[in-house]
């Protein structure tokens, strides 16, 4: 057994997420039938803004923010069936992103969709937009603090 120094990582560094993640949606997002294959690409240096970009030539592109740093109080209850399908046992194992809307280009009025988060299993690269049954989570939560 020859220890290979390069193979031993001290600790996974959460800040250095891979710059690009290929995602397969279990089901197309409402409004965009036919688009299942996306990439999640970092859109800023701090790792707080991401493009969720369809791999199709004319496919849609969304701006997504990781839910945890933006909405620390956000703890959606994910349906068991959806978790099972994604291969996560609870929300803790999944990465949760919210899609951002900038109405009429007015960044100050930007909102994030907390009702239908994108849940990603980072281990399998499977993802899904989960429409929560709990109507308490707003579709348009202001992003501005």
């Amino acid at each position: 057994m020859t220890p290979s120094p390069a193979a031993t990582l001290a600790a996974p560094a959460p800040a250095t997420a891979p710059p690009m993640q290929v995602l397969a949606l279990a089901e197309p997002m409402p409004g965009f039938p036919g688009h299942r294959d996306f990439v999640l690409v970092a859109a800023d240096a701090a790792g707080l803004l991401f493009w969720l970009q369809s791999v199709a030539p004319d496919g849609p592109r969304f701006l997504a923010v990781p839910a945890a740093p933006f909405f620390p109080d956000y703890a959606p209850v994910l349906p068991r069936a959806a978790c099972a399908e994604l291969g996560i046992t609870d929300g803790a194992q999944g990465e949760i992103y919210c899609l951002v809307t900038v109405p009429d280009g007015d960044v100050g009025a930007s909102t994030a969709n907390l009702r239908a988060p994108i849940v990603v299993n980072p281990a399998t690269h499977r993802a899904r937009q989960i429409v929560l049954t709990d109507g308490a989570h707003p579709i348009r939560r202001p992003l501005r603090r």
Binding site: G31, G47, P60, L63, D73, A75, E85, L99, T101, R115
Partner: protein
């Protein structure tokens, strides 16, 4: 559109693996139960439409917004505050944690 008449306790089957049960009918309201493969999402129509509409709007965000949006980003509390952006949020209010909904203990 196909129209069928069913009574409480009866079922409609769609394809091999989707069942719709009529659970209860009271006044103008009907309660339905669904059995479907888990990859089949079942939504109330108005919720589905709202999400589809929100998604369509979300797909219109352009890269012009990125710089300003970064200013809304939380301090993140990460050690990687040495980003070249230099866009610090003006008033960070994350100190005491102003949760609207206290998490269930």
């Amino acid at each position: 559109m196909l129209t069928l008449t069913r009574s409480v306790g009866e079922t409609i089957r769609i394809g091999d693996d989707i069942e719709i049960h009529v659970v209860e009918v009271r006044g103008g309201t009907v309660r339905l139960g669904f059995k479907a493969p888990r990859e089949v999402a079942i939504h109330r129509e108005e919720v589905y439409k709202q999400i589809a509409e929100a998604n369509l709007l979300a797909a219109q965000v352009t890269a012009d917004s990125l710089g300003a949006l970064a200013a809304f980003a939380p301090g993140a509390g990460a050690a990687s505050a040495a980003g070249p952006a230099g866009a610090e949020p003006a008033g960070v209010e994350t100190a005491g944690g102003t949760a609207e909904d206290p998490p269930p203990a």
